[in-house]
């Protein structure tokens, strides 16, 4: 029995120690950098009051009294003569526009995602499971690559305009419009809405609909009374998440917004580039506070949703067959999806393999050849393509090494019952609500520039971290929640009696973890690892901040640098990135990964 005492003692020490180490890494690489941004905002930033009363930032809210007066004037004019009353022209300002475009993006994502959920949840067709897993693809799609895809598809020289010109139709000018930004955001978030809504739709017990029918409700009425109210919470959940993500949108707006449209993220980035750190810090702090608040609201709301499991899922309708109104609707949804989701990626591949010649496009490999040539001829300030690929793979490996252990340890900790677990869970998921720009800035200021720590008896020590290590840290911070999200549910549903049997047979708690639990969640660990890798390879926001002026640039950074007048090199680099991301996605899918944020 001495042995058992020893292992129990070891276990009492080991698990908390591992947990403590994971917490320390998060503290150094996430909480400290974010705190650094807030600290700078208070120390040297533009004053919050100045920002919050500047019309440039907050629009009409800078002068609430005046805004209200104009609204009241409008109301009284409206009462006198509704036909001539003009709604006041309110300026939104930077924050207002950021929220406005996020709101429109959420609306568009719902408008596209709910019909997608309808097709996924209610129809049967070959490849339905594949289509379903594809809704997770945006999670691992590098944003800058999607932006290039959208330029290739909808740009003035893009694929769509090429087709229109060939047909003798006028060109459409979508690039640098708010419409295209919102469409790109829908590309990202409609699948998320679809995924959440479809899951809810499938978990609705058909017996409830049948009961409504037997009680006298016609099919439409039963849908309205029974199905819709059960879907609504999921639609709202998806919309809220979409709003948060689009509020923090960076690469899409940076590439597709042109000179006219800027979100807070883009403005922060430009302020950093202009070395205006004070303004950057203040804006980043306000933005982060707002998004954390939203995320908190989301978590509170989500926790209230009951997790139902379908006892009698509804029977699916075959997608192909005689023409019925519901089939027609489903086919229309499929057509729109092809336009929004397939066209950009297809256009990117197409543009990377063709070059315009008189009377059409000729197939060419010269854009790929350019990537190799540029490696030899690049000036020191230019991005070397092969170096970018090598860096991406190295950082991806480094990210795996950090994010997977942290993710597993947090998954184990979060499935244990102890006081304050909820707090740990929430803190561990906070990176979802903090933008890459903010994490990148924090790491840059806090660790790359170095921090002075006073150590007793030694004096003041300056701690600095290399740019490459900071990039790995930033990637790991973004990636580990996916490992946790993949491993924790599997651990939680693991039959407790398995571990209890192992313990009864003489295994220590730690031994049971290695012998029983980890092998059974291995596929979750691997799926989480594939996620971590894909996220690292595609990460742009924090990398572009940390890599500027160094040699730590990655494929997404290279794509951004190559995006210019000619689309060829950027799309070629995008295709390389697409290949790596696609391979990761296949691995995740094969391993049955969990994607839901």
């Amino acid at each position: 029995m001495r042995n058992a005492d020893l292992t129990d003692a070891a276990e009492r020490v080991v698990l908390p120690a591992l947990g403590g180490f994971a917490a320390l890494l998060l503290l150094v690489f996430f909480y400290f950098p974010v705190a650094e941004v807030f600290a700078r905002a208070f120390d040297e930033g533009a004053s919050f009051a100045a920002v919050l009363t500047d019309e440039f930032y907050v629009g009409f809210l800078a002068h609430p009294g005046e805004a209200l007066a104009r609204f009241l004037a409008f109301c009284s004019a409206f009462v006198r003569n509704p036909l001539v009353a003009e709604f006041p022209d309110y300026r939104l300002g930077l924050f207002g526009f950021t929220a406005y475009q996020a709101f429109l993006s959420a609306l568009a994502s719902v408008a596209l995602g709910v019909p997608m959920a309808y097709v996924l949840a209610r129809f049967e067709f070959p490849g339905r499971e594949t289509a379903r897993s594809l809704t997770a693809l945006p999670f691992v799609m590098p944003s800058i690559m999607v932006a290039v895809g959208f330029i290739a598809a909808f740009g003035n020289q893009g694929f769509l305009n090429g087709v229109l010109t060939a047909l003798g139709l006028p060109k459409v000018e979508l690039l640098y419009t708010l419409k295209l930004i919102i469409l790109a955001h829908a590309f990202y978030n409609a699948p998320l809405v679809a995924r959440i809504t479809a899951a809810a739709w499938e978990s609705i017990d058909t017996r409830t609909v049948e009961t409504a029918r037997t009680l006298g409700a016609r099919p439409r009425r039963a849908f309205r009374d029974v199905v819709l109210p059960q879907l609504l919470p999921s639609v709202l959940t998806g919309a809220l998440l979409t709003f948060v993500f689009c509020f923090l949108s960076f690469a899409i707006v940076l590439s597709l917004g042109g000179l006219e449209f800027r979100t807070v993220e883009v403005w922060v980035y430009q302020a950093v580039n202009d070395l205006d750190y004070g303004e950057a810090a203040t804006l980043a702090a306000i933005e982060t506070a707002f998004s954390l608040l939203l995320m908190y609201a989301y978590l509170r709301y989500e926790a209230r949703q009951r997790a139902a499991s379908a006892v009698h899922p509804p029977e699916r309708i075959p997608l192909f067959g005689s023409v019925t109104p519901s089939r027609l609707a489903a086919w229309a949804v499929c057509a729109v999806c092809a336009l929004v989701f397939v066209l950009p990626m297809f256009s990117m591949v197409y543009e990377s393999l063709t070059t315009p010649v008189v009377g059409g496009d000729a197939v060419t490999l010269r854009h790929y050849a350019f990537l190799v040539e540029r490696q030899a001829t690049a000036y020191s300030f230019q991005v070397k393509p092969l170096t970018a690929i090598r860096n991406s793979l190295l950082f991806g490996a480094g990210c795996l090494a950090v994010a997977v252990p942290i993710g597993i340890v947090l998954a184990v900790v979060s499935t244990r019952e102890f006081r304050g677990r909820k707090v740990v869970d929430t803190l561990a998921m906070a990176p979802f609500a903090v933008s890459g720009i903010v994490v990148g800035l924090g790491l840059l200021w806090g660790l790359v520039f170095g921090t002075e720590i006073t150590v007793p008896f030694v004096g003041t020590v300056r701690v600095t971290v290399s740019g490459a290590l900071a990039v790995v840290a930033a990637h790991a911070v973004g990636a580990y929640p996916f490992v946790t999200r993949n491993v924790a549910p599997m651990l939680a549903t693991l039959d407790r009696s398995l571990v209890e049997s192992a313990r009864a047979l003489g295994a220590s708690r730690a031994r049971a973890l290695f012998d029983i639990e980890l092998p059974l969640v291995a596929s979750g660990v691997l799926a989480g690892a594939a996620f971590a890798f894909a996220i690292s390879v595609g990460e742009f926001d924090s990398t572009v901040i940390l890599a500027s002026g160094t040699n730590s640039y990655t494929m997404p950074v290279a794509i951004e640098r190559f995006t210019g007048r000619r689309l060829g090199p950027a799309t070629a680099m995008g295709c390389v990135l697409l290949a790596v991301t696609g391979a990761s996605f296949v691995a995740i899918d094969r391993l049955g990964g969990h994607f839901d944020g």
Binding site: D205, R207, T208, E210, T211, A212, R213, T214, L215, G216, A217, R218, P219, D225, V226, P229, Q230, R306, A308, V311, H312
Partner: protein, 341 residues
């Protein structure tokens, strides 16, 4: 006239036949039970009556009117499902009131009065503002019953409504269901796989097997006079004897089974014959036909024991006092206690 009538109803799903010519006559006010093992088609029959399934061929009539193409909402039925299917986004009261959105409450009552009345009927007075997920399984089941009854349906359809509950609660609830049914006089069709439950509550029982109705009758009929081998073995415990008629003394046939000759009341039997004897009819003290059993196991039941023994013809189950394993006992039965099918 039959209240519910099924005429050679067939239901096919692709290559499988769920219902293979089901015919039923159910009278007004009757408590009618469909019983059978899982997959026998009893639930499909109930769903076909409710209009939730369309028969491939055959017809359903309610109150003499053909139900061809009549959607569920126009059939005047109330359904309680196995998992209750309470609307999770509505309170208990809203659930019960749901059917009253489409039809006025019976007897000129207001909706609120009707909901209160129904909740009282199922002993859930004061539960109207609760949420379904706050209730126990038994309470949810009673809410589902109140909801189904609120519009005053012509027919109440119950699809294994008790099977998710524990044994004691099930007994208590089925008595409650039965007394509510009698009080309201509503024609009730009840689906269960539990033959004991079927015998306990029903006016009439239809035993189903492989998509067909094997026998319809009162609980006493199907228990005492099974018409098919399936009914004999499915309803209650039974002992099967396979033999051959080797002689006859008036109504009594002499049946040779596994080397023993039994005297069995069977006026028409000739050739190969199968008869059944209930465990309770096997008596250690009396009975004209005697056989010796080697005792295998004996289960203590409180009142006596259930003893499994073997003889040349196979295994026999008997009600006895406690018997140690390995002993031999002798049991007997009267010719009239053997049921030939």
């Amino acid at each position: 006239m039959a209240e519910v009538e099924l005429d050679s109803v067939v239901r096919e799903y692709g290559a499988t036949t769920a219902l293979d010519g089901v015919a039923l006559d159910i009278s007004e006010g009757e408590f009618f039970t469909l019983v059978g093992p899982s997959g026998c088609g009893k639930t499909t029959t109930l769903r076909t009556i409710a209009g939730l399934e369309e028969p491939t061929s055959g017809s359903v009539r309610i109150g003499g009117a053909s139900m061809d193409g009549v959607p569920p909402e126009e059939r005047d039925v109330g359904v309680v499902f196995q998992n209750y299917a309470l609307f999770p986004h509505m309170s208990v009261g809203e659930n019960v009131a749901y059917g009253l959105r489409f039809s006025d409450p019976p007897e000129g009552k207001s909706k609120n009065e009707r909901v209160t009345e129904l909740l009282e009927l199922v002993d859930l007075a004061g539960f109207a503002d609760r949420e379904p997920d706050e209730l126990s399984g038994g309470q949810q089941q009673r809410v589902a019953l109140a909801r189904a009854l609120a519009p005053g349906p012509r027919i109440l359809l119950l699809d294994e409504p008790m099977s998710a509950l524990d044994a004691r609660l099930r007994q208590q609830l089925r008595r409650q269901v039965k007394s509510i049914q009698k009080e309201l006089g509503v024609t009730t069709i009840y689906v269960t796989h539990d033959q004991e439950e079927a015998l306990a509550v029903s006016d009439k029982v239809a035993v189903m097997h492989d998509g067909r109705v094997e026998q319809v009758g009162t609980p006493q009929d199907v228990y005492r006079e099974p018409e098919t081998e399936f009914v004999a073995s499915f309803i209650g415990e039974n002992n099967r004897f396979d033999g051959e008629v080797v002689g006859r003394e008036g109504e009594v046939a002499l049946v040779d089974a596994a080397g023993t000759t039994f005297r069995v009341v069977a006026p028409d039997a000739t050739g190969d014959v199968t008869f059944y004897v209930r465990p309770a009819a096997l008596d250690t003290e009396a009975g004209e036909n005697r056989l010796t059993l080697g005792v295998g196991t004996s289960e203590f039941l409180g009142e006596g024991a259930r003893t499994y023994g073997t003889w040349e013809g196979g295994e026999i189950v008997v009600r006895t006092g406690a018997v140690p394993a390995g002993e031999e006992i002798e049991v007997g039965f009267d010719p009239a206690d053997a049921v030939v099918v």
